[in-house]
Amino acid sequence: MKLTRRTALKSLGATGLVGLGSFPMPALSQGAAAKTLKFVPQANLANFDPIWGTQYVVRNASALVWDTLYGVDANLMPQRQMVESEEVSGDGLTWTFKLRDGLKWHDGEKVTAKDCVASLARWTKRDSMGLLIGAVQQELTAVDDRTFKWVLSKPFPKMLLALAKNNTPCAFMMPARIAATDPFQQITEYVGSGPMKFAKGEWVPGAKAVFERFADYVPRAEPASWLAGGKRMYFDRIEWIIMPDAATASAALQNGEVDWWEIASTDLAPVLKKNKNIKLDIADPLGNIGSFRFNHLHPPFNNVKARLAVLTALSQEDYMRAVIGDDTNLWKTSASFFTPGTPLYTEAGGEILKGPRNIEAAKKLLAESGYKGEPITCVVAQDQPLLKPMGEVTADLLKKIGMTVDFVATDWGTVGARRAKKEPPGAAGGWHMFHTWHAGADCVTPASYVAIRGNGDKAWFGWPNIPTIETEVAAWFDAKTLDEEKAAIARLNKEAFANAVYAPTGFFQIYQAWRSNLDGVVKGPLPFFWDVKKA
């Protein structure tokens, strides 16, 4: 063990405190320390049901405990995971899946087709793609212990993507008795077949979650790639240590008390970059798209001209500099609703966000929309470091084009409740706009991209009713080739801008940081713990 001032002090303290019964001194041996990973996640693991709670932090923890039938790889392609083989009938209506041999649950029971049928039944009631499959489902049954069959009334070409995707809720497999839980109620037993077991007894919500290696896990032979391939674990124990304070997490990483910090604060990045014991890199290449939503139900934003007026004056650079800062490695402007750098990315129709900002044109559009100076209820969560500056830039933008702003500074919990209200803004408690961001992984395709949908009452908050958007979403789902997909997405992007479904405020990424003795950390939409080793 390396002798530091702290270890010396510890020994001294122990010696001096023998009389107080301080011995034995607990300490992890060097070997045990190498087998334990201490990780600071992006947020508290407040619940642990990946179907009930769709927060990313829940998904990230779940990926350790529960496995999926398919997993998306670093090329965004679905690959077999628990499945050994699949077969689709010529008419595309019957899918038959065969499970790998030797799969076991953490309680020692065999993974069976019945378990997968029950898990898929629960998932299809909560996931946007699952709901689409559920709508055309005729039969979902176990054929034998390792085989199950899914019969549809209409082909669903994106079946494998749906089962592999990393967007929440992922199609995680659970034992049938657990999967029988109502999808709107939380599970209370955490048995999976993934590479790590959840140590429920050590779970201190808000402080710590512990995962222990599952000795009976059989990884696939292929090399790991995101959620696909062999998930080989080199740690016996992974401790998630929740740290609400970024400065503390940064200090703990510098001091070697933790090994890996999932979201390293941009403000603290310069300090971490100078430390030779720490590596810093982009966490997720798919990044995030900042946004604010218009309420399409009430004036003035029920008029497309008012929404376009805002886009005409909007400067993504202003937003990104306010939110992320001057480190241009971390952000860029993007005249698109889709994730830059991904196969379907397009800027078709995005001209409104390009070039010098035109305040006068925006004012003209606003006047044409019939806006008469009523206060715009702009709801901003002050407890979210990304959203507070975004809200302030929006308030300034609205004032510049002649709008009266009712800036509602509140917390995210209140925004979460208020944005669901369809009542008019003002005294009735409704809203005109709120700020958020979308994970780039969700904006690669329309599969899980709820924010772009225009299906009225069933759409995401703001409830845009834009049938042309829905036509293009359907066209993408029906597309059979990459070219067809690209054409559908280009038309979709154009329609989304023409109707200003929401306001994209720029594309940004965030750093992750880890101790330099850690090897195998990769960029991805979630932290992948397999293949990570500690020297």
């Binding site: 510890k10 508290n44 709107f184 808000g206 503390t248 919990g413 979460g416 709820v450």
Partner: protein, 313 residues
Amino acid sequence: MLTYILRRILATIPVMVVVALIVFSLIYLDPSDPAAANAGDQATAEDIARIREAMGLNKSFGVRFGEWTWGILHGDLGRSILTKLPVSGMIAQRIEPTLSLMVLTLVLAIVVAVPMGVIAAWTRGTWIDTAIMSLAVVGFSAPVFVVGYVLIYFFALQWDLLPVQGYTPIARGFWPWLENLILPSLALGFIYIALIARITRASMLEVLSQDYIRTAHAKGVARSDILFLHALKNAAVPIVTVIGIGIALLIGGAVVTESVFAIPGLGRLTLDSILRRDYPVIQGVVLLFSFVYVLVNLVIDVIYTFLDPRIRY
């Protein structure tokens, strides 16, 4: 005295009932929605409505308050609507770190602040008095989190003497327990030391001007005996009062301190449950804090009678 203590203990019951009613009512009036706050961004309005129903949030005020009160009367604080774990169990998990932090802070503050106040009073008007009172002003002015970051920077990052964060249960050894608590206790205790030192000084100054102190001097009693045996005991009532009131200060400060030093205590549990709108947990911890505060006040009242036999209830 025993009758008095029993009467005071019984009097805590209506106080706790009022506290429970206020806490429950305030939470009921909260316009936010735990279902929406926890369903995630992908959840639709229909999903949120079904989750809200499953959480039991659509029940009327009367039904919810009745169920909660009935549970409390049976020793059941309910279950977290997020983790589904029993609230009493979640509180039990967090009591030791918070109790350790508070006790250590209290001990540290009293051990440091009382002598500081006594010395300041004794050396009134000298540079020592000025220095001690200046420190007290700094203690009052510096927010807990600033003191915490400064301590972390020097003691953990620069000198590598103590850990940045975390908590080790005392069952795993005294030193591992203590090393995690030294910086948090210093950070939290700073303002408390300032408060007690100032009160001690003021109270001591009043007592030191009394005739019997002059008499003690005239009789040749040793200076330390005058200060600590004669004067301090008579100056103790306001000091004890401030220490009692300061418990509330500690509870508030623990929320910040536990967040800065990542200590898994009740303060962080309170903050997390407020941010996530985990109503049963908020109700449980607030009720517990209220009970502790009532209890501390009772203990302080009893201590008065020992310090000053003239005080009778």
